[in-house]
C-alpha cells in the first residue's frame, strides 16, 4: 500500500501477502468463521434444551459459549488480530469491554444487594413482633 507502517483499519483484512507465504484467502477465513460460529450456536441451543447437564451450571456454560462465539466473530469477521498494526483497535475494544463489564456486573451486583436488604413485607414484620 504505502511506504510506512500505518495501523490497519478495523474490518480491513491483512494486506495481501506474497504468494509463497500461502496465507489463506479471505473467503476461506470467512468460511472458517461461519463454520465455527454455526458449531458454537448449535451447541448453545443444545445446552439450553438438554437434560443431560447439571441445571444450575447451564447459564455459566451459555455465557462461555457466547464469549467464544464473540471471539470467533471478532477474529474471522472483523479481522481483529494481535498484530502490531492492530494495537489501536484492540485497545479501543478492551476499553469498551471494560465499560460493558462495569455496567452489567455493577448493576446486577447493586440490585441483588438492594433486594437482599429490602424490608420484609408487613405480615412478616408482625410475626417478628408477636414472638
Amino acid at each position: 500500500m504505502t511506504e510506512t507502517q500505518y495501523d490497519r483499519a478495523p474490518g480491513d483484512s491483512p494486506a495481501s501477502p506474497a504468494p509463497e507465504e500461502r496465507a489463506p484467502s479471505d473467503v476461506v477465513v470467512y468460511t472458517i468463521g461461519l463454520a465455527l460460529a454455526v458449531l458454537l450456536t448449535v451447541t448453545s441451543f443444545w445446552v439450553a434444551n438438554t437434560s443431560l447437564l447439571w441445571g444450575p451450571g447451564i447459564p455459566l456454560g451459555l455465557a462461555v459459549l457466547a464469549i467464544a462465539q464473540m471471539g470467533v466473530h471478532l477474529v474471522f469477521f472483523l479481522h481483529i488480530t494481535t498484530g502490531p498494526d492492530n494495537t489501536n483497535n484492540v485497545l479501543a475494544l478492551a476499553f469498551g469491554v471494560l465499560i460493558v463489564t462495569l455496567v452489567v456486573v455493577g448493576s446486577l451486583w447493586i440490585m441483588a444487594n438492594l433486594n437482599d436488604n429490602m424490608m420484609p413485607p408487613p405480615e412478616l414484620m408482625n410475626l417478628h413482633m408477636q414472638r
Binding site: G11, F45, A63, H73, T81, P84, V104, G106
Partner: protein, 210 residues
C-alpha cells in the same frame, strides 16, 4: 499471520514508524472513528442488557419468558443473521477485488436475510402483543421490548443503509468515498451480529428457562 509480520519487519526497518510518518490514510481514520462509535453503541446496549437482567423475574403475573419464547423461531432468526454476516463478508471480498456483480449479488443475499430476520422478529412481537404480553404489562416485558426492539431498529437502519450503498455503487462506482462507507457498513453489520449472540443467549436461552 504474526510470523508474516515479523518477517516483514526485517526488511521494512528502514521505513519510518507510523508516529513519524504523518497523518494516517483517511480509510484508517474513518474506520477507526466508526469503530469507536460501534463500541459506544455496544456500551448503550450493555445498559439495556443490565436492565433486562435485573428485571427478568419482575413479571407481575404476566406471562414469563419460558411461556412466551419460541426457540424454533429464534433459531431461524439466528441462522438468518449469521449467514447474512457471512455474505456481508463475501461482499467485502468482492468489493476488494472490484467485482461489481459479486458485490450486488452478496448485497442482495445480505439484504434478503436481514429482511427475513426482521419479518420473523416483528411476527414474534405481534404474536406476543396479541396474547396480551404488551410492553406496559410488566417490567420484564418493558425491558424485553426495549432491548430486542432496539436491536431490531438497528437492523432496520442497516437495511436502509445497505440499499443506499448499492445505489451509490450503481451511480458512483467504486470510488474511495463509497469504499469507505462500505467498510463502515460491514463493520456495523458484523457488530449487530455480535450483539445478537448475547441477545439470543441472555434473553431467549437463559431468560426462557423456567
Amino acid at each position: 499471520m504474526n510470523i508474516a509480520v515479523a518477517l516483514d519487519d526485517v526488511h521494512t526497518d528502514a521505513l519510518p514508524d507510523a508516529s513519524e510518518a504523518g497523518p494516517a490514510p483517511k480509510r484508517v481514520v474513518v474506520a477507526y472513528g466508526f469503530w469507536i462509535f460501534l463500541l459506544s453503541d455496544i456500551v448503550m446496549f450493555s445498559a439495556l442488557f443490565a436492565a433486562y437482567a435485573v428485571l427478568v423475574r419482575a413479571t407481575a403475573g404476566a406471562p414469563t419468558g419460558a411461556e412466551l419464547f419460541n426457540q424454533v423461531s429464534v433459531a431461524i432468526e439466528t441462522a438468518c443473521l449469521l449467514v447474512s454476516s457471512y455474505t456481508c463478508g463475501l461482499m467485502s471480498v468482492a468489493i476488494g477485488s472490484r467485482r461489481r456483480f459479486g458485490t450486488y449479488f452478496f448485497a442482495l443475499v445480505t439484504f434478503v436475510l436481514g429482511a427475513a430476520f426482521l419479518a420473523l422478529e416483528l411476527r414474534e412481537f405481534a404474536g406476543m402483543i396479541a396474547a396480551g404480553a404488551t410492553p406496559q404489562r410488566s417490567a420484564f416485558l418493558s425491558a424485553f421490548f426495549t432491548l430486542v426492539g432496539c436491536h431490531g431498529l438497528h437492523v432496520a437502519v442497516g437495511l436502509i443503509w445497505l440499499a443506499v450503498m448499492m445505489a451509490q455503487v450503481a451511480t458512483k462506482g467504486f470510488r474511495a468515498t463509497v469504499e469507505r462507507r462500505l467498510l463502515c457498513f460491514a463493520l456495523f453489520w458484523h457488530a449487530l451480529d455480535i450483539i445478537w449472540i448475547w441477545l439470543f443467549t441472555v434473553v431467549y436461552l437463559m431468560g426462557g428457562r423456567p
